[in-house]
Each structure stands twice: as structure tokens, then as C-alpha cells.
């Protein structure tokens, strides 16, 4: 029944003939570039990014403002508007409702994408106040995605909405409320619930708790993780808070100036950051527990994306920078660290010459 609703081209084969592989990643982004066209020139907001999200995995995407992390996520879903243009790459989605046969998102037309959206990939927006339509009741905003994607009766939909709301800890009497009648924490929960109404395979979370206090943030994140375990979706978690990311993500990708500079298991990156930028970032967070460390931060300012110098974009702020760095072509390179695992960095200089656990090394590592 569900299969009938899927667009052609993303589920044409009947399930029995499927030769798909369920162990393949849910989302595979390759060579992905996004540019903002403007009269002053192209702003290369995302440049040649590779990233995969495996089934049931939480992948963290971290970086400073303007590093392109949101652009990457929204661009992969093709939700950016002009002057944004996808200039290169491929985004393959691969889920159980597509019989694990990859679907190339960049080739789908509007109506095909429309059927795939939310059903397969849903989004928790950053600002709950802005992501909810102020003139519609909560109930209508939760149900309208089901109207499009699920073939259920009105009562069944309502039941489902109530159960999803219950999962995020919102009583059902709030269904008939309008967004402005709810507190910030409640709105954020509603936005999370909204992303789960049609059982997506992948949920993109764009700084879902940034605006909240730590106590509420912790509660909501615990709920998200519990729901993830229970419902089995994958998460792309976007944040600028690296310590939070280390805690919640299985794998972490670090972005700088529109490019990926480091990808790896969160433990690898935590204990053995291989890119100077990652080291700097980790070194920017005061720790609440354990002995006090000397914190350094990263001097300098983020580069102008319209006018990137050749080579590594981090050169002006990097303490390991050498003349050779201007010739580096930004590519993720496997790191052979003491922890092993899948760990890649875009800094060949540090990797080749003096890769060792940096001075950011933890007291206990």
C-alpha cells in the first residue's frame, strides 16, 4: 500500500525482485557543491563535500557560522532557493521503501521529490517559532504531512498524532493550540514531533536545541535519542556545539569554509583530532568537568567565501601553516591513528609530518 504512493523512478521494482542492499548507507552525498549566485560573484557555500549517513546512525555536522553546514543539509534535500544553485555532485537516497535501490535526489523533478520529502527525509528546524505557521493549529500542522504521505482515515491520523505528541511529552489537549500559545520548549518538541509523524528514515536536525536552556536541551535530546532507538531512523545532527556533538553523535564531520576538513568516529575526533581546525575548535570549549585546561581558541576571522585563496582555506588561522599549504587540494585523507577506525582529515601536512595526539590531549586519554 505504501509502495503505491512512491514516485516512479524511486520505486519501480516490486519488492520480491529487489536486489538492494540494506547495509548501504541511507544517504550518500558525493562531490556536492552549492554556490550562491550574486552580481559580486559566486559564493561557494559548499564545495565538493562527501558524506554518508548509515542506517541508524547519528552523524554530527559541526562548524562555525557560515561554514555551510545548513546549506549542505538543505541543499541535499534541494530545499535551497535561488540564488542558491547546486553546481556539482550527487545525493543518493537509499531506504527501505525504495527497496534499498539508490535514488538520485538531484535527478528527481518537483513532484517526485515532493513524495519523497518528509516520508523519507524530514527536518527539525532550528527555530521552532519560525518553523510553525502562526495561523494554523498545531493539529493541522502535524496532520497535513500525513494527508500527503499516508493513506489513513481521519481517526487513525489523529491517533498517530496523539501518540507522536505523547512521545515528545506534549499532552493531547495542546492539539488545538496555536503556536503562539506555547512556550519555547513546547514549540521545539512540537517541531520534533512533526518530523516524526510519517516515520522517516532520516531526520535532519538543524541545531534543534540551540535556543533552549541546558536543562531543557538535555531533556529534549534524551528524548530524541530514545525515539531514534525505538523508531530506528538515522539522524544528521547539525550544531556548532562540539561538546554536545561528541556526546550525541556516532560519527562527526567538521566543516570549514564550505568544505569538510575532518570526518571520523566521535571518539577518534575527540581524542585525536587530525585537522588543526578541529583541534582549535576542541580547544575552544571550556570543560565543566575534569581538571581545567589551557584554552586557546582560534585566532583570526572566517574567510570570505567569495574570494578563497588557493589551497587550504584555514591557512590564515593555522599555526601549522607552511608555504606548501597553498598547493593543497582539499581532500579527505585516511588517518592512521592509534584508535584506528574510519578517520579522515583534509590536512596532509599534519598527517604526513607530525601527526600525533595533539597538545589538546585529554588528561585521561
Amino acid at each position: 500500500m505504501i509502495d503505491d504512493q512512491l514516485p516512479k523512478g524511486y520505486d519501480s521494482k516490486p519488492r520480491s525482485e529487489s536486489n538492494g542492499d540494506a547495509s548501504q548507507p541511507v544517504l550518500e552525498i558525493k562531490g556536492f557543491s552549492v554556490a550562491y549566485r550574486s552580481r559580486g560573484g559566486d559564493v561557494k557555500a559548499v564545495e565538493n563535500v562527501d558524506i554518508t549517513i548509515n542506517r541508524g546512525e547519528v552523524v554530527g555536522l559541526a562548524g562555525e557560522s557560515g561554514s555551510g553546514k545548513s546549506t549542505l543539509a538543505y541543499g541535499a534535500c534541494r530545499l535551497l532557493r535561488p540564488p542558491a544553485v547546486i553546481t556539482a555532485g550527487s545525493v543518493r537516497y537509499n531506504g527501505r521503501r525504495s527497496n534499498y535501490t539508490p535514488v538520485e535526489l538531484l535527478d528527481l523533478d518537483r513532484d517526485q521529490l515532493r513524495k519523497l520529502r518528509w516520508r523519507e527525509i524530514s527536518i527539525v528546524f532550528q527555530s521552532a517559532m519560525n518553523a510553525l505557521n502562526p495561523v494554523l493549529r498545531i493539529q493541522d500542522q502535524l496532520i497535513d504531512a500525513m494527508d500527503v504521505h499516508l493513506d489513513l482515515s481521519k481517526d487513525e491520523k489523529l491517533d498517530k498524532v496523539v501518540s507522536v505528541l505523547d512521545m515528545v511529552g506534549i499532552p493531547r489537549d495542546r492539539l488545538r493550540s496555536y503556536p503562539h500559545e506555547l512556550s519555547g520548549g513546547m514549540r521545539q518538541r512540537i517541531v520534533i514531533a512533526m518530523a516524526l509523524t510519517v516515520d522517516p528514515e532520516l531526520v535532519i536536525m538543524d541545531e534543534p536545541t540551540t535556543a533552549l536552556d541546558v536543562v531543557v536541551q538535555r531533556e529534549i535530546l534524551s528524548q530524541i535519542v530514545e525515539l531514534k532507538e525505538r523508531l530506528g531512523f538515522s539522524v544528521l545532527f547539525i550544531t556548532h556545539d562540539l561538546s554536545l556533538m561528541m556526546e550525541i553523535a556516532d560519527r562527526v564531520a567538521i566543516m570549514y569554509a564550505g568544505q569538510l576538513v575532518e570526518v571520523g568516529q566521535s571518539t577518534d575526533i575527540h581524542h585525536q583530532p587530525a585537522h588543526p581546525y578541529t583541534q582549535g575548535l576542541l580547544n575552544s570549549f571550556p570543560s565543566l568537568r575534569g581538571p581545567k585546561r589551557t584554552l586557546a581558541g582560534i585566532p583570526g576571522v572566517t574567510p570570505d567565501l567569495r574570494d578563497l585563496p588557493p589551497g587550504c582555506p584555514f591557512i590564515p588561522r593555522c599555526k601549522f601553516a607552511k608555504p606548501d599549504c597553498t598547493k593543497v587540494e582539499m581532500r579527505l585523507e585516511k588517518v592512521e591513528g592509534i584508535l584506528g577506525g574510519k578517520h579522515f582529515s583534509a590536512c596532509p601536512i599534519v598527517i604526513a609530518n607530525n601527526f600525533k595526539p595533539s597538545e589538546t590531549e585529554r588528561a585521561h586519554a
Binding site: C77, L79, L113, R114, K115, L116, R117, W118, R119, S122, I123, F125, Q126, S127, N130, A131, L132, N133, P134, V135, L136, R137, D144, A145, V148, H149, D166, M167, V168, G169, I170, P171, D173, S177, Y178, H180, E181, L182, S183, G184, G185, M186, R189, M194, V216, E219, Q223
Partner: protein
């Protein structure tokens, strides 16, 4: 799972309640003050005018009987009956009983009766045309915003021209083209001579035919304005996160456009509607004069040119009241469309 009763919630609803009360009180206060302002302006106008208005009128209309002088003096509160305050109170009393005095030109027909004859023409014509142009303009604005850069958007300069064209000038052009050159439609008056006003087909058809040109004038000139406003607000609204969210949900474009974007974009248009009504009334006044249309505007003009002061005063008051009534209507509409304007405590 924890019962969710976030800390600021009760505060939010309480603030909401208080804001709501204040908002209501403010609107009510506004209506009361605006009403009194209209009445007071009306009261003072004859007093600002040079000379004794009643005597100059008596001189102008020799047919008036001395009894009329007394009536006029009461109406204008001029003469020898007490203080200004007393006059004002007498005047208010008269207004509230619906007594607007007697007309001079067609003495002793009460002013209110003349207004009663003229008002329906204007209300039906202007009301219908305004609603049509608002709906049309808003609809076109939605399309223009959705297909920005499209054909409709390229018409913007032409539409600005239409918006900038004075009502009466467009009316002149239309009369010249459609009535005088091509004789498609009648140019003057509200219905053909020889018909009597009543519920018969001959009259209704004639009235409809006569109203086409004036209606076309209003629609052409005011549609462009609504459209430009709606287009700009709509483009701004399309940039909101909730529209993007609707799109990310895979909702049909129809639902994204109407329920998410347009539903929000229309709010300023509604509150602008009431304010714009004043301009509409002004514009149609000129238009009625061009078409010699028997509405309230033409009646006002005639009363001014013939110094028929009681009628002028009465019509001005009626127009003010109509604009106020439209404001109330827009307020109610706004409350229906925007839930934020009717926050109440949630149990």
C-alpha cells in the same frame, strides 16, 4: 514521559490575556474617539465659515420660510440659544435621534431621506467593485509573487501606471472610449430616463448596464494597488521558515501557497483594507461626478456647489460613519483570520 507543563506557559497565556484586554480597550477607545471626532468636526465646520451662515442661506434661498430659519439655527447651533457647550449637546442629541435636519434645495424634505436615496447606489456599486478589486488584486498578487519574474511581474511598470492614474481621469478616458466613440455603454447616470426605481427587470438591467463603466473604473485603478501590496508581502512571507517547512513536508504546492504563505501574507492587506476605504470613498466621489452617477458623492458635490449646507453636513457625517463601520468590519475579519489577535487563556 514527563508531563509537559513548561514553566513560562501560564505566564504566556496570562500576558496574552492582558494584552488582549488592552488591545480591545484600545480599539474600543479608538472607535469612540473617532466617532466623536467626526461629530465634532461636523459641528464646528459651519462655525469656522465666515459670516452668519443661516442668514446668508436665507438670502440665497428666498423661498425659505421663516420657520426654516429657526430649524437651521438649531441644526447649526447658531443664534441665541445658550452657550457653545449647550449647542453642542443639543446637536449631539439631534444626531443620535437620526435627525440631520431639513434640506434647503428640496425644502422641507429631511436630509436623512435624501441620503437614504443616494446611499444604496454608492454602497452597491462601490461595495461590489471594491470587493471585486480586492479579491482580484490579492489573487493576482499571490500569483505574481509565486511566479516572480513571470509575465505578471513584468507588467509591474504598467500596473504602477494604472495605480497612479487618478480615478476620474480613467473614468474620463473610459467614457470617451466606450461611451462616446464606440457607444458600448451608457456614459451618464445610474439608470435610463423614463424608468422608475423599483424591483423590476427593466430597472435592474438598466442600473446594471449603467454601473458597468463606473465599476470598471474602480476595478482597474484599485486592483493594481492591492496586487502590488500583496505581491510584496507575499514575497516576504515566502521567505519565512514555515513556508520552507511546508515545502519540506512535501505538501502540495496549492497548500503551500494558500494555507502557509498567502494565509499569512493577507493579514496586512486586511488591516490595510479598512484604511484604504477612505481613499476608495474619495476616489469614487470624483468618479460619480464624472459619470453623473446618483450616489452619495455626486449628492455631496451638488450640495457643496449649491451651498446646501445641511445636506453637506449630513453626508460628511454619513461618510465618516461608513468608514468607521468598515474599520470595525476589518477588525472583526482580522480577529477571525489571525489567531494571535484573539489570544485567550488556555485551560
Amino acid at each position: 514521559m514527563a508531563a509537559s507543563n513548561d514553566n513560562d506557559h501560564s505566564l504566556i497565556s496570562r500576558f496574552g490575556e492582558i494584552k488582549q484586554m488592552r488591545f480591545l480597550a484600545r480599539r474600543l477607545g479608538f472607535y469612540v474617539v473617532a466617532l466623536f471626532a467626526a461629530l465634532t468636526i461636523n459641528f464646528f465646520i459651519p462655525r469656522f465659515l465666515p459670516g452668519n451662515i443661516v442668514e446668508s442661506m436665507m438670502a440665497k434661498y428666498p423661498s425659505l420660510k421663516p420657520s426654516a430659519q429657526r430649524a437651521l439655527e438649531i441644526l447649526f447651533g447658531i443664534g441665541h440659544n445658550g452657550s457653545l457647550l449647550h449647542q453642542y449637546i443639543t446637536y449631539l442629541g439631534q444626531i443620535f435621534t437620526g435627525n440631520l435636519g431639513l434640506d434647503l434645495l428640496q425644502f422641507p424634505i429631511p436630509v436623512i431621506d435624501i441620503i437614504k436615496n443616494a446611499l444604496p447606489w454608492t454602497l452597491v456599486l462601490v461595495g461590489t467593485a471594491t470587493v471585486i478589486s480586492w479579491v482580484l488584486g490579492t489573487g493576482l498578487g499571490i500569483i505574481a509573487a509565486w511566479r516572480r519574474g513571470g509575465k505578471l511581474d513584468q507588467l509591474l511598470p504598467a500596473l504602477s501606471f494604472l495605480q497612479a492614474t487618478p480615478y476620474f481621469f480613467l473614468a474620463l478616458i473610459l467614457v470617451w472610449l466606450l461611451a462616446l466613440r464606440f457607444h458600448v455603454l451608457p456614459a451618464q447616470q445610474g439608470f435610463s430616463n423614463g424608468l422608475s426605481i423599483g424591483f423590476n427587470w427593466a430597472f435592474i438591467l438598466s442600473a446594471a448596464r449603467h454601473s458597468l463603466l463606473p465599476a470598471l473604473t474602480i476595478v482597474l485603478t484599485s486592483t493594481a494597488g492591492w496586487m502590488l501590496q500583496m505581491r510584496n508581502v507575499m514575497i516576504t512571507t515566502i521567505g519565512e521558515d514555515y513556508v520552507l517547512a511546508a515545502q519540506a513536508k512535501g505538501l502540495s504546492p496549492k497548500r503551500v501557497v494558500f494555507t502557509y504563505a498567502a494565509r499569512n501574507a493577507i493579514l496586512p492587506s486586511i488591516s490595510g483594507f479598512a484604511l484604504a476605504l477612505g481613499f476608495v470613498v474619495s476616489g469614487t466621489l470624483l468618479m460619480e461626478i464624472v459619470f453623473n452617477y446618483p450616489g452619495i458623492g455626486l449628492t455631496l458635490y451638488n450640495s457643496v456647489t449649491s451651498n446646501d449646507f445641511p445636506l453637506t453636513q449630513g453626508i460628511f457625517l454619513i461618510i465618516s460613519l461608513t468608514v468607521l463601520a468598515a474599520n470595525i468590519l476589518a477588525d472583526v475579519l482580522y480577529v477571525i483570520v489571525d489567531p494571535r489577535s484573539r489570544t485567550r487563556a488556555v485551560a
